[in-house]
């Protein structure tokens, strides 16, 4: 199966549409204009989903992306068949999208800041997380830790991939564990939630950013609205599971329009630098520690040397 990676022009085998109708405001949008506007409706600001190549192109400095683990491919550990066998779905998804899996990760620079970045693509089986997505997130986190680079994950996913059963579920643990080690080591992680970020992806790495950003009106939630509204007899609040709802409830730091996302990330990366690795206790200045003052401070404080500490 010939796959050109990472940036295959999209839509080659779709009928060549020139116009797209905005699902939010019904405006007919000229596709070239839409692409130029980062696939945001020029009339109402509706954010269309972005493919992985476009997302990387928008965010990273020009031609700095080095993909890692491009060769990872899903297997079919359960021999899963619903209305068609899982391997057939995978093949179809690969052919339709031109990518091998629902996530791509690698290293690159963003406003000059070198980062590890992982981007999901909803076009590949609804961005569902199976073993490969989990593995890529974990490898991205482990590499970020090893190389002490900030990690960015841009999520877009319907959740765990049912066709891999509990092995997909276990990717929640795999990714959370890797991010836990990253955080303990003081290496920052920014989660960017885009439409949609749901189910097991929201319930693992997407929720755990040191900073969580979200695109406007992105669907972000745990349970499917069908479940919430159907199984459970309950009226859902206005704006339920939107980025703005999540912001209001304290789970998202900022809702950032796509046009401002790159700048927002650059701004954050200026701060979110890996904590310096602590100097060994015995290093350098021999007079530090245990109440003994190093030279310059001692000089500064000399006038006080005779003064007794007063106790309350």
């Amino acid at each position: 199966m010939p796959i050109k990676l990472p940036f295959r022009p999209r839509g080659r085998n779709l009928p060549p549409d020139l116009w797209t109708k905005c699902p939010a405001c019904a405006e007919m949008l000229y596709n070239k204009q839409l692409e130029k506007n980062l696939r945001v409706c020029t009339r109402c600001g509706h954010h269309f989903r972005l493919r992985v190549d476009a997302r990387l192109a928008q965010l990273l400095d020009h031609e700095t992306f080095e993909e890692r683990d491009a060769g990872l491919e899903s297997l079919d550990p359960l021999g899963f068949v619903d209305q068609k066998p899982y391997p057939e779905r995978l093949t179809a998804a690969r052919q339709a999208t031109g990518i091998r899996e629902a996530a791509m990760w690698g290293l690159g620079t963003l406003g000059g800041h070198r980062v590890a970045i992982c981007v999901m693509d909803f076009a590949f089986m609804g961005g569902s997380m199976g073993s490969v997505v989990g593995e890529k997130v974990a490898r991205a986190a482990e590499t970020a830790l090893a190389e002490r680079l900030p990690l960015i994950i841009v999520s877009s996913s319907g959740g765990a991939r049912m066709q891999e059963g509990t092995l997909a579920l276990m990717q929640l643990a795999k990714t959370c564990a890797a991010l836990g080690r990253l955080g303990e080591a003081g290496v920052p992680y920014i989660s960017v939630m885009t439409d949609p970020t749901t189910g097991g992806v929201f319930a693992s790495y997407a929720a755990l950013g040191d900073v969580n950003l979200a695109e406007p009106k992105a669907l972000i939630g745990f349970a499917g609205a069908r479940v919430s509204a159907g199984t459970i007899a309950e009226t859902l609040p206005e704006g339920f599971q939107s980025a703005e709802f999540l912001f209001q409830h304290g789970f998202v730091d900022r809702v950032v329009p796509r046009a401002a996302l790159r700048d927002a990330l650059v701004g954050l990366l200026a701060y979110l630098r890996p904590r310096p690795v602590p100097r060994p206790a015995t290093a350098g200045n021999g007079s530090a520690g245990n109440g003994r003052l190093p030279g310059p401070l001692a000089a500064l404080l000399d006038p006080l040397a005779g003064q007794e500490a007063r106790r309350g």
């Binding site: 899903s74 068949v81 961005g127 073993s131 765990a160 991010l179 836990g180 479940v227």
Partner: protein, 344 residues
């Protein structure tokens, strides 16, 4: 209970309650689901009261409330102090409503986390009992961040500096189950099931009909035996012939016997080793190929003690597609419009 060889993919039954030749595989698997959901099945508090002494239940998440769908506290297993945490369903309709059918809100997971941290602070091991259709999917649950609470709980357990044994006792439903099911060793009762989504949820999404729940249950390999073969659980604990619901005391006795041995092994280990092995346990899960240049992360050649313990206990890992062949349901109608929303 005697050790058994690694399970084949046939659902394993110690003393089969349902003669296999009378039922199709689909019916056989579905019987497991029904047994796992049997309201008379002993739930966390029943099991703890049967297998442990000096049970002290603790309450509250110190943030918002006390979730009756999640219970926890302190107890003693043959003298060993542990922190227990588990989903709690009710045996009667009223209690089941009060317990929200074992579906926790975020405060349930936050209570669990509080108790995990207490266990760590005291240096006491944790045993969890997993039995939920999933976290509660309602508006209040979403508003207060049920996904966040699940992610945090998973992350906390991955790094918790004390041994953890997790037991899937009934329904292991999705992230709401895994949130308290990360362990050094993961057991399952024989009739327990474990899945990424309920069979009904899977059916309504992939088959577009809840009537296909039985097919979905088969396709997802949700039985304890299959989960053991996948390496997701380490050992199946056999239930009495009549099923756990008919013999809760004997079920608890068997479980306690297993837990005692495993806890003793784990407690003897340096915690740093446990943490590394727990990390590896989940790090290795999944099935994929790499058609690109090798970029393998270096892994230790020799399995760690918890791995060795799991192997000793009869677990296996690996890709089971071939073995799984016989269970494949025939492909249904070929509508190709993958509705890939996993629902909690």
């Amino acid at each position: 209970m005697a050790d058994r060889p690694p399970a084949a993919m046939q659902p394993e039954v110690e003393e089969p309650a349902i003669p296999a030749d009378e039922l199709t595989i689909r019916e056989q698997v579905w019987a497991r689901v029904q047994e796992a959901r049997n309201v008379k099945r002993p739930h966390t508090l029943e099991l703890v009261r049967l297998m442990a002494t000096d049970v002290v239940e603790l309450h509250g998440d110190r943030l918002f409330g006390d979730d009756p769908a999640m219970v926890g506290g302190l107890c003693r297993l043959d003298g060993r102090a542990i922190v227990f945490v588990g989903h709690q369903k009710g045996a009667e309709v009223e209690e089941n409503i009060a317990r929200n059918f074992g579906m926790p809100h975020p405060e349930g997971y936050r209570k669990a986390m509080r108790l995990f941290r207490l266990a760590e602070r005291l240096g006491v091991p944790v045993v969890t009992f997993v039995d939920t259709p999933g976290a509660y999917p309602g508006a209040a649950s979403e508003e207060r961040g049920v996904a966040e609470s699940i992610a945090r709980s998973i992350q906390l357990m991955c790094g918790l500096r004390t041994p953890i044994v997790s037991v899937i006792t009934g329904e292991g439903g999705s992230g709401g189950a895994l949130a308290i099911a990360v362990g050094d060793v993961v057991l399952a009762l024989e009739n327990a099931v474990y899945s990424v989504i309920t069979p009904e949820g899977c059916a309504s999404i992939l088959w577009r009909s809840p009537d296909a729940a039985q097919q979905a249950a088969v396709a997802m390999r949700i039985t304890a035996g299959e989960q053991q073969a996948l390496g997701v659980i380490d050992r199946v604990v056999g239930e009495p012939a009549e099923g756990a619901h008919a013999a809760p005391a004997e079920t608890a006795r068997r479980l306690r016997e297993q837990l005692a041995v495993i806890l003793d092994e784990l407690v003897a280990r340096p915690v740093e080793d446990l943490l590394d092995e727990r990390y590896e346990r989940y790090r290795r899960m999944g099935a994929f190929a790499d058609s690109g240049p090798p970029q393998a992360v270096v892994r230790p050649e020799r399995p760690g003690i918890a791995d060795r313990l799991r192997i000793l206990l009869g677990s296996g890992r690996g890709i089971l597609a071939a073995e799984l062949g016989p269970l494949r349901p025939g492909a249904a109608d070929e509508v190709d419009d993958p509705p890939l929303r996993e629902d909690g």
